[in-house]
């Protein structure tokens, strides 16, 4: 069974005359260890889809199953616990806490889960080393570059050993080099560390790191592209396909 199973997801913002249908009967599945990219122009509903998959928002219609659990029926606290244990988030604007150092930032999900401080810091340190920040453990966010801050965010997303990582335009605030590094890191998250990754982006090059790309337009999933070992990271192919939808 798929890790994520979303059926006929619809999300309408507002009501009456000004109602906006941000997502329109979208169905998809994501397998464990799979890296899926979601592409589309600005305002097509990418973030909306991601938030629904992560249980941050509730759909107007349709349902989401994560690891066999239908999250629509969960209470707010149960949903929160599920997020804490099964899902990691990476945001466009990093969203680190400026007063905490890299280790404490990365350790947050464990700390919130009641894990003892020492144990949480040890595990956060391990993950920071894995994402290549072993030498910046005690730096505060303002002492780190954008790329480094996003690495801390990735470590934070992984520290609670979730099965799924959701990333909303993780390279949106980064230069090309750092963007490549982060996309590569997410590839590693799926390949080496065995998590499923759903990443929203509008950059064809970044999307080409994924196993599969969903094309979204006006809230509807209009197309899908599978990339295998030999056309992986072929940005031209993705861009061409994007032009067609």
């Amino acid at each position: 069974m798929a890790l994520i199973q979303a059926e006929e997801l619809t999300r309408v913002y507002g009501a009456g005359e000004t109602a906006v249908t941000a997502l329109d009967h979208a169905s998809l599945g994501v397998e464990a260890r799979e890296f899926v990219a979601v592409m589309g122009p600005s305002g097509c509903g990418k973030s909306t889809l991601l938030y629904l998959l992560g249980g941050l928002d509730r759909p107007s219609a349709g349902r989401v199953m994560i690891d066999g659990i239908s999250i629509g029926e969960l209470t707010d606290d149960a949903l929160t616990r599920l997020r804490r244990q099964k899902i990691g988030f990476v945001f466009q604007s990093f969203n680190l806490i400026p007063m905490l150092d890299a280790v404490d930032n990365a350790a947050l999900p464990l700390t919130l889960d009641g894990v003892a401080a020492e144990k949480a810091r040890t595990r956060a340190t391990e993950w920071l080393q894995k994402v290549g920040l072993g030498n910046r453990l005690t730096s505060r966010p303002d002492q780190l570059s954008g790329g480094q801050q996003q690495r801390v965010a990735v470590a934070r997303a992984l520290v609670a050993e979730p099965r799924l990582v959701l990333a909303d335009e993780p390279t949106g605030n980064l230069d090309t080099r750092s963007s490549d590094e982060i996309a590569g890191l997410l590839r590693q998250v799926a390949d080496d560390w065995g998590r499923a990754v759903v990443m929203v982006t509008h950059d064809a090059h970044i999307a080409s790191y994924a196993d599969r790309i969903l094309f979204l337009r006006d809230g509807v999933i209009v197309d899908e592209l599978r990339l295998d070992a030999h056309n992986r990271a072929n940005a031209e192919l993705v861009a061409e396909r994007l032009r067609m939808v």
């Binding site: 973030s47 938030y51 992560g54 941050l56 928002d57 707010d76 606290d77 929160t80 616990r81 997020r83 804490r84 244990q85 990691g88 988030f89 945001f91 604007s93 969203n95 806490i97 400026p98 007063m99 905490l100 404490d104 947050l108 999900p109 700390t111 919130l112 889960d113 009641g114 401080a117 505060r140 966010p141 303002d142 934070r156 997303a157 609670a160 605030n173």
Partner: protein
Amino acid sequence: MLRLQLTLAARYLLGRKLRTALTTLAIVFGTMVIFGMGMLLPTMLAAFQANVLAAAGQVDVTVTQKSGEAFTRSALSKVRAVPGVRVVAGSLSRTVNIPSGYYGRTQLGALTLTGIDVDAAQALHSYAVTSGRFLRASDESVTVITANLAEMLSLHLGDKLHLPTADGDITLKIVGLLPARSQPGNEEVLVTLSEAQKLLALPNRINTIEANLNTTDQAQRDVIEGAIQSSLGTDYTLGGLSGGSELLAGLQTGQAAFSLFGFLALFMGGFIIFNTFRTIIAERRHDIGMLRAIGAGRRTIVGLILVEGLIQGVVGTAIGMALGYLMGAGILLMMGSLYRNFVHLNIGAPVIEPQLFVQTIVLGVGVTLLAGLLPALSASRVSPLEALRPAAVEHTTQRFTRGNIAGAGLLVLALLGLVSHNARMAALGGLLFLIGLVLVAPVLVQPIATFFSRLLTLLVAREGTGELAQSNVVRQPGRAAVTASATMVGLAIVVAMGGMVWSLTGGFLGILQKSLGSDYLLMPPAVSLWGSNVGAKPELANRLRATPGVAVVSTLRYAAATANGKSVALLGIDPVNYTKVASLAFQAGDPQTALADLSRGRALIINGVFAAQTGLHPGDSVHLSTPTGQQLYQVVAVGGDYLNAKIQTAYISQANLQRDFHKSEDIFLQLNLAPNANAATVEPRLKAILKDYPQFKLVSGQNYFEENKQIFNSTFMVMYVLLGVLAAPSLIALLNTLAIGVIERTREIGMLRAIGATRRQVRRIVMTESLLLAAIGTAFGLLAGLYLGYVMILGLSTAGYPVDYVFPAGGLVAAVAIGLLLGVVAALFPARQAARMNIVRALRYE
């Protein structure tokens, strides 16, 4: 241009309704206190003038003896002889306190009994009787009263009016009614001069001369008034009555304290606004940069921010004044009944002086603009590039600034002031201490927050919420310091007041036991404002002495005098009997011989307050102004009794009081029973005698002590009410900081919720943050409060009040409890707000 600024300002303010409301609230509170408190003194003054001066009516010149005592008619002839004086009339007037319940259910604090020289008085005033007739010189036992009073007492023409006097209860027949007076005040009971002299036991004496002059030219009037003054000498005063000035001084002190509090509140309001504006600027760097990029000048930006401040200042001040009026009127209403019963002053409608409006508006709007100015200037320095750059990660590290170092210096100076044991230095030190703490606070925020967050983490804030809360506090040390300072000021006053009330209670109850420890007390209605009480002739004391079972009776008599230019209440005591029932608490001189020494020549014991005001010591000589001229008295000791501890008082022998002041009326009596007497049988006999003297209340010494202890306890209650008011600015400051923090960190809260923080954890973060801020404020407040309390006691004892400093352990506990409560209450709303936040909207928040 201004239209654009107004539009933008209004949009921004409405866009953040909650924050706008909170900031405006800070101004509302400050102006409310200033306006409300500013109403009190003028209203009381008006009441005072209406009561005391209304009797004087509309005449050109009023002459009284400086001491307020009665004098002979020779002064009258002197005034009449001055060229330019058209008519003169002498009168004898006195406030008669009415015991409660005297007129059944009608509550009447006091009446003014006035004896007039019927023919002369009618040349000065027009007495238009509405029914009946006016007084005739030959009248006996008749009176003319106002229709008002008659209505209040349900009396009609021909009815009898009861009145308590030194001769016992008397009745006067009402022969005429005067129209109701326009000014509120004590109602007048008019009798003939000879009648009043008989009733008040002051034969051939008057205490007021009224005169009209034969010119309206101000320069000529001044000349005539000068001539009257020089013909009478310096013992006489021209103009209004001088009596009751001690009450006025008390009112003024109270007003000063309240105003100071109002300014403090507004000062804190200014801080809060300053804070908010700094936050606003930080938030809008992008917008401001964009405005600059498309061509807005620096001045436009400053104007934009200031217009926003102006709107808030005007709205806040208007609301504050409206609420202030309600508060002031409410306080006056409450004080009204208190004053009627204790000081016998009727308080009328609230009086608002025009300058109070001006003052409140200037302060309210001015503080807002001033607080907005610095942030506005810093906004104008935002470069147009800011619009194009992504927002930098905020992070402020606190380094030592010049302010911190100056603050530390002030703290050292303050401690030196305390060590100096000089009240004035210490008082100055108190101010320096407060300012110093506010200045060093930002440096101390980090260590104190760390300390308390460890504590809180152990207790409640587990799962990392404590660390997060601490990081929120430390993130803006300046803001945290200001917030904590607001709490500090409130709590410092709690602790200081606690210390003072505790110390005073101890000191006063000690003297109470000493000076009023007799078996029974005969109390007049207005204790300590002796001049307005009606006493009794020596006959009462004699009848009490003759009562079987009574061992000893001691009495106090009263006269007003001035010494060294200060007015003083003279109490005549009978040294032999007094020592048998009570004692004075002595601060200087020989307690063994002091009372006996009163009988040797003209000798005087002065109390601490009077000693502090005049600088007199035992052994010094001082001239007292008396109706018989200046008399030289020798100070033999400094000491006092309970009832007069707050008033400048001196004690002389009753023999001297009779000789120099012609006073022999007993205004307060104490008695002890014989050792074998049974109180149950004696008490009815005493009560029977007092039927004739309803102005006295029989109280057992034990009961009186208990009653007074009760009064001290209710003083605590008043303190609690005051604390409620004091807590408001602290609460607003806390609430404001927390709410702004929550708004600023919206996206962070969204992130925390996304990665797995429950609503409860988010709520706990805000709650802990609030508790941390409150804890810092409380820590400072305790320090400053102990300091201020000590200074107050030091000041009181230098001013002559017999008090020792008592460590306010209870005040400390109360302050800590209040601090914690403030923390919890302030956090309720912002914590809910944070916990309820919609995650997706929070993450999308710009």
